[in-house]
Symmetry: C2
Subunit: 390 residues, 2 copies
């Protein structure tokens, strides 16, 4: 029987892989960075730019945010998330688990799910594996994430085990409800394309904080259930970088080689290369958009803070090696002026450049793996990034 | 001797004219609406969009804002305003007179000029006809406005006369300093093109509040000095609409028929048609950008407030007859969601649509004049706008 997605590896170099993830809404070359469109918009950029110059093949949406506002009745009435926002390419939706966890004191976790107060209107809401699957079916995203509990970096072993086991039971419930919803045709995004089932894909999430035994057990329990792809959650949330890479470096290669692997919420451009080197295929992070709004550009020579006085009359682009439309047109001096003047074009321009830089970096990563030069590319890229902006 | 600009009327209908204004940075079909780029950016839109889809042939910059920040040393160091902001097409700069007037209590006007406190850093600054010309030469804009004093709509005759006479003396001083600066090659935007002098053009401004005799006298005194084009200032600042049109309707046709006429700071789409009917060629206004940021769209059926609950699940575009990229892609329901969620894409999208609508309206105005159907177009357009959004 056809699967919801297909994944083909075209080249390997060490643990790094370059491949093609085929979804019901187009092909995605991997490794891929997915821009984050939390509330149905990648902040500060038009869809035309994402499609054309940035050429994003897939973006993220967020169950938590979209469920609270505008709500699934509205999105269902508008024909699902793709049609609601006007985006025909692939969409992955996060389950809401991470956002609810981020609420901290405002949420109460039980076996059944998570009770919390909406940040929009203060109303009491309840999110569970079943609700998350129902919302994601109404959104009609192409890749659905199982509902999990996030145990952050420094969680002690006992607590991390409790959490990991809850996540495993929630994964089972996610799978069951998801399958029923697909049978019931609740998925608003269903589209038949040759060789695929037309259904949503469901990814399982490995938790276990920084404890390797728990991470391995978490993966085993997800494999028992069976998913279309596997994600590593609960990293980049407070632990040291080397600890994060130890965990990801052990777990990613243990995941099925013929399915996509997704490292959630990571990271800087250097992090993307480190993840790829450990066998990760998919990444997402708010850094390019959020930091762009705060006046920070990612460049081939590291981070550039546009506020700095040293750029006041500097006519060079953000990145002298970048060919994006911002770097072709605007100087550091002008972008600094826009930032200091509170002009929206500052956020728009830095967001645009940052996304262009992230996606261009991944394009170069893929090419380097396909030509057997990833190790060399990674070394040169990292050296350059660490050399600092002049 | 070649002039800085040339202006050719291609068609007339009543007082309305369609023509081509040739500047050292390209041809501008008139009547034209000029998007406002106060601090060197048309708020909320990329220059690529202005050039391509919106197809703006000329935009405004503001002397007051750019002088205070980033300052003319920076702009001169970056090669003038065109190069600083990355815009090769025509630029018109306002003189700063209106902005200083807007400061109200914070400014002190004397024969010499205007003393005021900077809104950026609170420093005491002094703007005069000479300083304004010097700043505009450093900016290198293609059309420079004389430094004037704005007497708003309800100014009594005596005060309006005093102000009008001061504006006349300032116009003389603007002309003198401007000419000296051109001789001294202070203009950073100088560009030689066939048939034009390569210098900046200087426009005079007619003031006199709502008093027809003062308006006529103000025009006579500007004509004595001699300018490359003539503007009507001090309208749309508190007076009734019919009073504004009485003044503009008398003064515009008295201006030289072979030079461009510019009605400053006006207006709504309906206002543009009223101005054109009275012989005006150029307009500017912050309405499409400012109202776009505040959730208001201009449409062929009048204003649409995107906040309204009635659009919550409305899948129609802002304007069903509009072919702009926002209307082709996004529904009222989605744009409302973006506004309520505080997403930047709300401002970006409504600004984009509004500018597209204003410039498309002017394109249709020009076509209608050229085909002798302006009267009909004006009647149909006005009826439709007044019919209300459904």
């Amino acid at each position: 029987m056809d699967q919801p997605i297909s994944f083909r590896i075209a080249a390997n170099e060490g643990n790094a892989r370059a491949g093609v993830l085929r979804t019901r809404r187009g092909e995605i070359e991997t490794p891929v960075f997915m821009p984050v469109g939390t509330a149905g918009s990648v902040k500060g950029i038009r869809f035309e730019e994402l499609e054309n110059e940035i050429d994003a093949q897939i973006i993220l949406g967020n169950t938590y945010h979209l469920w609270l506002r505008p709500g699934i009745e509205t999105i269902r009435a508008c024909g699902g998330l793709h049609r609601f926002i006007g985006w025909d390419r692939a969409l992955l939706t996060d389950s809401g688990g991470f956002q609810v966890w981020s609420l901290g004191e405002l949420r109460k976790i039980s076996e059944e799910g998570t009770e919390f107060r909406s940040h929009v209107d203060g109303s009491l809401r309840f999110l569970s594996p079943e609700v998350s699957m129902e919302v994601q079916a109404a959104l009609g995203s192409d890749i659905v994430m199982a509902f999990d509990e996030c145990a952050p970096g420094k969680t002690p072993h006992d607590d991390a085990r409790t959490s990991m086991e809850l996540t495993a039971r929630w994964a089972r419930r996610s799978r069951d409800r998801f399958d029923a919803l697909q049978r019931d045709e609740a998925d608003t995004g269903r589209t038949l394309v040759e060789g695929l089932s037309g259904a949503q894909a469901l990814f399982g999430i490995v938790q276990g904080a920084t404890h390797h035994d728990l991470r391995r057990e978490s993966l085993d329990r997800k494999l028992e259930i069976g998913f279309d792809g596997y994600a590593i959650g609960g990293l980049s949330v407070g632990e040291e970088k080397n600890v994060m890479w130890d965990v990801a470096g052990e777990i990613a290669p243990l995941m099925p080689a013929d399915l996509p692997r997704y490292l959630m919420g990571v990271g800087t451009p250097e992090d993307l290369l480190e993840g790829v080197a450990r066998g990760v295929d998919m990444f997402d992070c708010v850094l390019p958009t959020r930091n762009g709004r705060n006046g920070q550009a990612f460049t081939s020579r590291g981070k550039l803070n546009i506020k700095n006085t040293q750029w006041a009359s500097d006519q060079r682009p953000l990145d002298e090696t970048c060919r994006c439309s911002v770097c072709r047109r605007h100087s550091r001096a002008y972008l600094r002026h826009l930032y200091l003047s509170g002009e929206m074009l500052s956020s728009i321009s830095l967001t645009h450049h940052n996304l262009a830089f992230f996606l261009d970096t991944m394009r170069r990563v893929r090419q380097s793996i396909r030509s057997g030069k990833f190790t060399q590319f990674r070394r040169e890229f990292t050296e350059m990034v660490n050399s600092g902006v002049e």
